[in-house]
């Protein structure tokens, strides 16, 4: 008995291309993406601080960019990314203590992360609008 020589590599069955997105995997990938966005946004914040240290003219340019609709959109997105990443991080800390692993708890805490992030984002913008004017 001689084994027939394999003529070609075995195909890999599809994974991400077919696996159904679920709250579990979607929140996990969002935690990654928001983490990357926040790292990028930290650089933007440094630019803002450098501009402020540089002088009134450069500061005015950066402030103008932030005040534009695209600047406001990015800032709003960054606020939401911040709260989503923060709440997701707290959820992970709780998991590290081996609590909240029942499927029901996983889904409740998952939706709670989404809802609380939205609420905190809106609250932050309402507060900044009413306090900062």
């Amino acid at each position: 008995m001689s084994n027939p020589t394999p003529t070609r590599a075995r195909p890999l069955s599809p994974n991400i291309q077919i696996y159904r997105p679920q709250l579990t995997s979607v929140l996990s990938i969002l935690n990654r993406i928001t983490g990357i966005l926040l790292s990028a946004f930290a650089v933007v914040m440094v630019v803002w601080l450098i501009a402020a240290a540089w002088g009134p003219q450069s500061y005015a340019v950066v402030q103008g960019a932030i005040a534009s609709w695209i600047g406001q959109f990015v800032l709003f997105g960054a606020t939401f990314a911040f709260f989503l990443h923060l709440c997701g991080g707290i959820r992970h800390l709780v998991w590290d203590t081996v609590h909240g692993f029942e499927l029901r708890s996983i889904y409740i805490s998952g939706w709670a992360v989404v809802a609380v992030s939205v609420l905190l984002t809106v609250a932050a913008w309402v507060a900044s609008a009413s306090l900062g004017g």
């Binding site: 195909p11 069955s13 696996y19 679920q22 081996v98 029901r104 889904y107």
Partner: protein
């Protein structure tokens, strides 16, 4: 309102996903897919005779002897002539339409773990999923991210090698007792929820972390088994077992995504088992 709650809050892995915004992630069909794994368009197989209740199954096919790429065939199944489960539909197709359709099956009651496959986008046992719970058309792929031998039969060699790497047997150092090694009821209850694993690998195949790092990350099924031995009061090799696991890849590529717990056809909790291992690793340091 109760309707919305059961749609949004999943309480048991047996719950079929009802509402999803996206049936698949918004990535191209051939995203990161090697040329030999690309799936082509296959044949359509009509029901052999006129039938009033027909359900179409789109099934992944791969014939190693043809030299061709995998393809997606569509099969019409006569529901009035076929049993209620997905496995019944596969057997019906094999008997009445295309005898070359290849899949593993044995017990048809969810205890052997042979017929694990990707059904409508999530992993489950074909014998315990009702056809009536499927989408139209129903889609059937082999377990995700495995090398395919033929059609729905994946090569599990690597997964069982990973299982062997945790040395899944009782290890003792003390002298062999006169009779059995006894456990109290409480000690015995600690392996409840872990010893029931049937090694179908639905969880490992559904774990994105294992997709990207499966060569070195043990994956949920094997780590659940690792915990089953760590938490067994009769086992006396806890430290060696933890040494073997404490590794950036073997254990710590688990990022608590929890697709494993969502998909387990036995309702077990691999995600929790892995968290227990991580906690035990930390606790032995202090």
């Amino acid at each position: 309102m109760p309707e919305l709650r059961t749609t949004m809050i999943i309480e048991s892995s047996a719950q079929v996903p009802r509402a999803t915004l996206l049936k698949r992630f918004p990535v191209p069909r051939n995203f990161g897919v090697a040329p030999e794994s690309r799936i082509g368009r296959g044949k359509t197989w009509l029901a052999p005779r006129v039938a009033s209740r027909i359900r179409t199954f789109e099934i992944y096919r791969y014939d190693p002897d043809s030299g061709e790429n995998p393809r997606l065939d569509a099969f019409e199944v006569d529901l009035d002539d076929c049993g209620p489960m997905v496995l019944d539909a596969l057997i019906w197709i094999k008997n009445k339409v295309d005898s070359t359709l290849t899949f593993r099956r044995s017990c048809r009651e969810g205890i052997c773990g042979s017929c694990a496959m990707n059904i409508d986008g999530t992993n489950w046992l074909a014998c315990t999923r009702f056809i009536s719970d499927l989408a139209t058309p129903a889609t059937i792929y082999p377990l995700a991210n495995l090398r395919i031998v033929k059609d729905l039969v994946p090569d599990l060699t690597h997964l069982f090698a990973q299982y062997a790497a945790i040395e899944p047997w009782l290890k003792t150092k003390t002298a062999e007792p006169e009779r059995e090694r006894l456990q109290s009821t409480e000690e015995r209850s600690k392996i409840d929820g872990y010893y029931e694993c049937i090694l179908c690998f639905c969880c490992t195949s559904g774990c994105p972390s294992h997709w990207w790092n499966g060569d070195r990350f043990f994956g949920p099924a094997v780590l659940l088994q690792a915990w089953r031995w760590l938490t067994d009061s009769r086992d006396e090799a806890k430290m060696e077992r933890l040494d073997n696991l404490e590794d950036p890849f073997r254990l710590y590529r688990c990022h608590t995504i929890l697709n494993c717990t969502r998909t387990c056809p036995k309702g077990l909790n691999p995600g929790k088992a892995i968290a227990e291992i991580k906690k035990m690793v930390i606790e032995r340091r202090s």
